[in-house]
Symmetry: C2
Subunit: 262 residues, 2 copies
Amino acid sequence: MYTMGIDVGSTASKCIVLKDGQEIVGKSLVSVGAGTSGPARAIREVLENCNMKREDMGYVLATGYGRNSLEGIADQQMSELSCHARGAYFLFPKVRTVIDIGGQDVKILEIENGMMVNFAMNDKCAAGTGRFLDVMARVLEVKVEDLAPLGAQSTVEVGISSTCTVFAESEVISQLAKGTDKRDIINGIHRSVASRVVGLAHRIGVRDEVVMTGGVAQNYGVVNALQKELGHEIYTSPLTQYNGALGAALFAYQRYQKEQKA
Amino acid sequence: MYTMGIDVGSTASKCIVLKDGQEIVGKSLVSVGAGTSGPARAIREVLENCNMKREDMGYVLATGYGRNSLEGIADQQMSELSCHARGAYFLFPKVRTVIDIGGQDVKILEIENGMMVNFAMNDKCAAGTGRFLDVMARVLEVKVEDLAPLGAQSTVEVGISSTCTVFAESEVISQLAKGTDKRDIINGIHRSVASRVVGLAHRIGVRDEVVMTGGVAQNYGVVNALQKELGHEIYTSPLTQYNGALGAALFAYQRYQKEQKA
Ligand code: SF4
């Protein structure tokens, strides 16, 4: 029995196909999200990868910022908060705190036995989100995916004192004008993201194990800075990018079973 | 007897020369602020305008974000909050509320008999500040000083739902892509600034008369939007840009008198 989870984020669309609610048999990621062809392409890709059709799916559940665009395609929609909690619990059964940094928001979830019991969220301010890193990468004329390896080569500590994306961008511009090494600036940017996120995390408290999810979890410069600032070990994996979609596929399996019984 | 007030802001340097603490005999404004040649140029300009020298000034007082850069030039430094209160009281003796929108911050002052008794300030976030308008003008490819006349020609209401500068910029870009009239977008931007500032103003309450100062007070599109959203008449004048410098020159006069007595 197969179920599909689709996570339509602000900047990426992700799909997971799950067998019997246990085994990931296919995944896809398209780097455009809500309001684009991304969700449809992600669905097509994951089905091709598994060599299956929409009809082979027992249940399809959509989550994320743009989930409502999938009415008629998905059997149900569900909040990304629940799906992220569920996905992280599947990957890391001891998880108590999820730090999810997406393209346009930051969420901190407190988890108990795989259920979300509390959360803090910033979706009004670009500071500390993937967008912050996008803006900085553009000013520095480097690719976002090169930020982590470049920052790792930093030798001098450079402070970025503004948390606001706009003011921090000006600081980066004047650092560049002063001739500061890009790699040191990048390291400062990673610390800036970390301190912003830690501020949010402290609102609900941080408990071990801490799992980081979302696109920014792929940037190990941010993960390391967060780890230092938080004083907790942070678990992550390449699969955490699919965390919301995974949670959706798990909930899809649960729904399917319920419907079979009914 | 002449005194000088210098306001070293984040984006402009302003000077006022006052005769006997009563009459404005000279003013200057240079559109670059702290950390540039702006303050020195503004001082040179105002002295040239009045045909005077530094030695002719009985007392020189500096205020604003970059006031500490004028040690050795100014006789004293003073917080811009007090100077703004004092300047506004001179221009509008019935003032109870000052809304000051500068290049990088927003301040709301509650005034009683010319003294500041309470304030609310945002200097951490670019939303609602002059910087917000700069960013939008750049994306729209219009001059900041053309925003007000263009917005006044708007015929259709366009909402900018994000208050964050970064997210609002994306909204503007997608409105442009949809072919929305720039003048309608500009009007939406003015309302966005207004709603952000009103949020801050309500923290301390708004009392008549309301005076608006700072560079953004020259944008009557923002003033009108604020007036509507606030439900209070707003007083402003071309002199309000010099408000901080004016307050500094007034305090300089007071200091001078005190020193003469001592
Ligand atoms: S602090 Fe900066 S990034 Fe955050 S809402 Fe304000 S303008 Fe946006």
